[in-house]
């Protein structure tokens, strides 16, 4: 039995961890390397670092940050944000990333998924999908949620899988930042339609939300940011709670 994974997400802007609500109003949360080390010690199963820098200097800072994270961390980590070519992916792999997450660039050129998967294997490729419900249809958004990608969630997720994605990271923009719970029904449908692992993101507010997610949706992992960064839900407490609910989780003694 594989453990359900708990994944803190660190949005990185110019070398600092930040957090915004619905992708706006950024607040500084701390040093990404130190936060990663702390989360690993607390029992996080994996980490995601997203580069949300808008400048070239920011991108350069991020690459050296990835090296420092790889130096420090003893659990796997994924990096994403601004990856637009297979060479970008190579640079991140060479800096020590275990996986990369593709979003807008894969929407622009879906063959990018195939290129990276062919070079480094599907286990290296996470496809991140941000979507929101419009007129009863889950519409995929790109460029940090600002623009419509003119794609539908389930159709795009299945295409990403068939092109070689190893995992799908689905963020419901309607739930992100609300702390009202994950998009459980949509995630259940997504998990049903895919044969690769699904990471759920957006909406975590309390431990019950995680338990509900795992019990009702079939999601393989849950990703959250502010509830961990702000200390609302300590990871050891969350994991003990999930274990008491019968969810298989990895507990550190």
């Amino acid at each position: 039995m594989v453990a359900k994974r708990i994944i803190p997400c660190l949005d990185v802007h110019e070398g600092e961890t930040v957090k915004g609500v619905n992708f706006v109003n950024l607040r500084v949360m701390g040093d990404p390397v130190e936060m990663g080390r702390m989360y690993s010690q607390q029992g996080a199963d994996e980490l995601v670092y997203l580069d949300i820098s808008a400048t070239i200097q920011g991108r350069g800072t991020f690459l050296s940050l990835v090296r420092r994270v790889a130096d420090t961390l003893n659990i796997p980590f994924t990096v994403g944000g601004g990856i637009s070519t297979a060479d970008d992916a190579s640079r991140l792999l060479d800096s020590g990333a275990d996986k990369i997450s593709l979003n807008s660039a894969a929407l622009k050129d879906p063959t990018l998924i195939e290129k990276v998967a062919a070079r480094y294997g599907s286990q290296f490729v996470v496809v991140a999908i941000d979507a929101k419900l419009l007129d009863n249809s889950w519409r995929v958004m790109r460029n940090g949620g600002r623009l419509s990608a003119h794609r539908e969630l389930f159709e795009w997720a299945k295409e990403a899988q068939s092109r070689g994605a190893g995992e799908i990271l689905f963020t419901s923009m309607d739930h992100d930042g609300t702390k009202m719970g994950f998009a459980v029904d949509t995630l259940a449908k997504l998990c049903n339609q895919l044969s690769i692992p699904v990471i759920a993101s957006g909406g975590a507010g309390n431990s019950e939300h995680f338990s509900e997610l795992f019990k009702k949706s079939g999601a393989d992992a849950a990703l959250a940011a502010s509830v961990f960064h702000e200390g609302t839900i300590p990871i050891p407490t969350l994991k003990r709670y999930l274990e008491s609910c019968g969810v298989p989780v990895r507990i550190i003694n």
């Binding site: 003893n74 659990i75 796997p76 393989d220 550190i252």
Partner: protein, 197 residues
């Protein structure tokens, strides 16, 4: 010094860092003299079986590896090439371990097997200080069958060998370098093994 064998492929960054954090000097090398004179040898876990075997043979390392009398640890694909055969690429391997490597199969399992799973061990020195049932991190689609060299098992669709040992040769299907504190302890157990048998 620890030799990490260079197959010329893939990313061994995290393994090098884990060895460094454990406080050991290492060289990433395919040089026979360096390998045979090192204290411990690690075959890292990147690549595909037939490609890795080809690289090992091209570098003339197949007989060198089989002849080593110091502690040797194969990780993931590094262990699989120490087995007798792999279904991946229909590959005849080094046959240090008699076990065969087969594709994971089972109802309702996702391939690759990716994430944290329990490792049930029984008293081998490599697992000193670790509980049977401890969690380790896996990323793989193939695994060795159970056999005489099995020192731990893991369940995923089927029960497979998650670690092997025969004489001075050890292997793990999981990635100790990615397995948190348990992985650090495991690597330390290997790296502090007595070189003189």
């Amino acid at each position: 010094m620890v030799s990490i064998i260079d197959y010329g492929t893939g990313n061994i960054f995290s393994l090098c860092n884990a060895v460094k954090r454990a406080g050991f000097d290492y060289a990433v090398t395919s040089d026979k003299d360096i390998i045979t004179k090192s204290s411990h040898v690690i075959l890292p876990g990147v690549g595909e079986a037939s490609a890795v075997m080809k690289e090992i043979k091209k570098r003339g390392l197949d007989e060198v590896i089989k002849g080593l009398e110091i502690p040797v640890l194969g990780i993931c694909i590094g262990m699989q090439v120490l087995c007798s055969y792999s279904e991946e690429g229909d590959t005849e391997s080094l046959s240090v371990f008699p076990e065969r490597v087969i594709k994971l199969r089972g109802d309702d399992i996702k391939i690759p097997h990716m994430g944290w799973n329990r490792v049930y061990s029984s008293g081998n020195l490599l697992f000193k200080g670790l509980d049977s049932g401890e969690w380790f991190y896996f990323v793989h689609s193939f695994a060795p069958e159970k056999g005489d060299s099995t020192i731990s098992t893991t369940n995923y669709g089927v029960e497979f060998s998650s670690a092997l040992n025969k004489e001075n040769f050890y292997g793990t299907q999981f990635h100790p370098e990615k397995s948190g504190v348990a992985g650090e302890r495991f690597l330390m157990n290997f790296l502090t093994m007595d070189t003189l048998k």
